[in-house]
């Protein structure tokens, strides 16, 4: 049940997208996400969707696996669609009792739906093809200028990579504890909301205890290896742009130009 969440989980494969520099992927993804929200119109979405499809195809991540990442947002998606459809004013197409559906509402709902789906798929593609370590590494690099105004860039990146690293571990732990309490006759499904929430206490307490224990162990292990923050720290595999990264940047620029042109003239 809990393993269905793909967010933040790496999909092992050997592809061009996997080999790209994480900075390229991060910048590319950001440009892509921003482009989804600035420009609108059916042709823009067609372009954006085909660009994403091309990337998914190149990444060799199975499409069914990508779609699984949409499951957690299914509810939000439905909710926005319905809200947009029912509460946008404009030319009335159809009306029944207190509900009216307008042409603008349908358009708005369609646009929002497309945006949300592409947004999640786009960012999922990045996390599926980039290990958390490389991703935070890229963030650290890209945020370097902030060091000038005394932002602890390295520490933030370290915290993020630890947090990301622990997501699958804690998920597995939750699964394990839930099973152990089920074996003791726990019931997480029946009853009203209050009863259900209460039934989670026997899961949450051991989970917190274990998280604290792990944090403590990790801090100890880091100190034992003389970790003292980012100052003067070198890297085992420093990030380096290669030819394919420039090609990728070039393609992102072409995509952006295309979207701008299409958004303006079509």
């Amino acid at each position: 049940m809990i393993r269905d969440i793909t967010l933040g989980q790496y999909y092992q494969a050997d592809s061009v997208i996997h080999r790209l520099d994480p900075r390229t992927k991060l910048v590319g993804t950001m440009v892509y996400l921003v482009s989804l929200f600035i420009f609108t119109g059916p042709w823009v979405f067609v372009t954006a969707a085909s660009f994403l499809l091309l990337c998914v195809f190149l990444s060799r991540v199975p499409f069914s696996y990508m779609l699984k990442g949409l499951k957690p947002i299914l509810f939000i998606l439905m909710f926005t669609l319905v809200i947009n459809m029912l509460f946008t004013k404009g030319t009335v197409l159809f009306s029944w009792w207190k509900f009216t559906i307008t042409e603008e509402g349908l358009k708005q709902a369609g646009a929002m739906g497309f945006r949300l789906v592409l947004l999640i798929l786009g960012s999922n593609l990045m996390t599926l093809t980039t290990t958390p370590t490389r991703l935070t590494n890229a963030m650290e690099h890209l945020m370097r200028p902030l060091k000038l105004i005394r932002v602890p860039v390295h520490e933030i990146a370290m915290m993020m990579s630890i947090a990301l690293r622990f997501i699958p571990i804690l998920l597995e732990e939750t699964d394990r504890i839930m099973k152990a309490q089920l074996a003791r006759g726990a019931d997480f499904e029946s009853g009203n909301l209050i009863k259900k929430t209460k039934s989670l206490v026997p899961v949450l307490i051991p989970l917190f205890i274990s998280a604290f224990r792990r944090a403590n162990d990790l801090a100890m292990a880091m100190e034992a290896r003389c970790y003292h923050g980012g100052k003067g720290r070198t890297q085992y595999k420093p990030l380096k742009y290669k030819g394919r990264d420039f090609v990728a940047y070039f393609m992102v620029i072409i995509y952006l130009a295309g979207v701008i042109l299409i958004g303006k003239f079509l």
């Binding site: 394990r176 504890i177 099973k179 074996a183 003791r184 019931d187 051991p206 274990s210």
Partner: protein, 284 residues
């Protein structure tokens, strides 16, 4: 002894189905458990033994095949799986990590309460269970988190025992315990079987753990049951066991070496006590 308590019928279970990392954890596993047995379930890490025991209490559903408990299919839609978990008690690996209550007594009465007992009955059951695992009276009102590692594990086992299971399944109960704690725990489990007739399934990767106590051994390798026989029978296949990353009990090696050195001993003595008598007999 001959009544079938539980029947596992051709279980197949695959992890990560449909992805590149798919792998069969259970591959056509069938066996029966009779009342009052003490079964050792042995296998190397990743052989599927933990997956198998989770099926026994319906925490995992097999892709095909099924399990019958006292003649009823436990994966049937309206089978009462909660009640099943009271009858087949599963103690997970490192069970002390699932403790959460403020006192030992309320911790142990969590299970019986879930089984529908009222507070008083649940606490009585908890009291009895804490006694059965050999904890002192002082422990009752202590926080389970203040206890030692071995005591925590006893509390966790008591919390399953308090539901009065007919079959008790323990997944690596001795992992991480010191030798003394290990012996004590195994003695305690044996006593449960002897005095109360509880059917025991003891999961382990150590032959020495089970050789002493089990009267039947199931060996798993790569999701399949390789041997299912009496200990003496299983330990005759030393070479095959070693190929699976397992080993025969140490005593069996000692006796074999003695025999090779020309001393006439019976190599089928596998427990420490039997081996000692065998050696004394041969030397006399």
């Amino acid at each position: 002894m001959n009544e079938y308590k539980l029947i596992a019928d051709h279980l197949i279970y695959e992890y990560n189905k449909g992805s590149a990392q798919a792998r069969k954890a259970l591959d056509d596993v069938s066996f029966v458990l009779r009342g009052g047995e003490f079964v050792g379930l042995i296998g190397h890490t990743g052989s599927g033994k933990s997956t198998l025991v989770q099926h026994l209490v319906a925490l995992l559903k097999p892709d095909s095949g099924t399990i019958y408990y006292e003649g009823a299919d436990i994966f049937e839609k309206d089978y009462n799986r909660k009640a099943l978990r009271g009858k087949v008690g599963l103690v997970f690996q490192y069970p002390e990590y699932q403790l959460f209550e403020e006192t030992v007594l309320s911790e142990v009465s969590y299970g019986p309460k879930n089984m529908g007992m009222d507070k008083k009955d649940a606490e009585l059951a908890a009291y009895a269970a804490i006694k059965r695992v050999g904890l002192e009276d002082e422990c009752f009102d202590q926080s389970p988190f203040d206890l030692s590692g071995g005591q925590k594990r006893r509390v966790a086992i008591a919390s399953v025992l308090a539901m009065n299971p007919e079959i008790l399944v323990l997944d690596e109960p001795t992992a991480g315990l010191d030798p003394a704690g290990r012996t004590e725990l195994l003695d305690m489990i044996t006593e449960l079987k002897e005095t109360e007739g509880i059917t025991i399934v003891l999961v382990s990767h150590s032959m020495d753990d089970v050789a002493e106590v089990a009267n039947r051994i199931i060996v798993m390798d790569k999701g399949k049951i390789v041997y299912d026989a009496e200990p003496v029978e299983v330990f005759r296949h030393t070479a095959e066991l070693e190929a699976m990353g397992l080993a025969a009990p140490q005593m069996s090696y000692v006796l074999r070496d003695l025999k090779a050195a020309g001393i006439d001993v019976n190599v089928d003595a596998i427990t420490l006590k039997a081996a000692k008598e065998e050696i004394l007999r041969a030397l006399a």
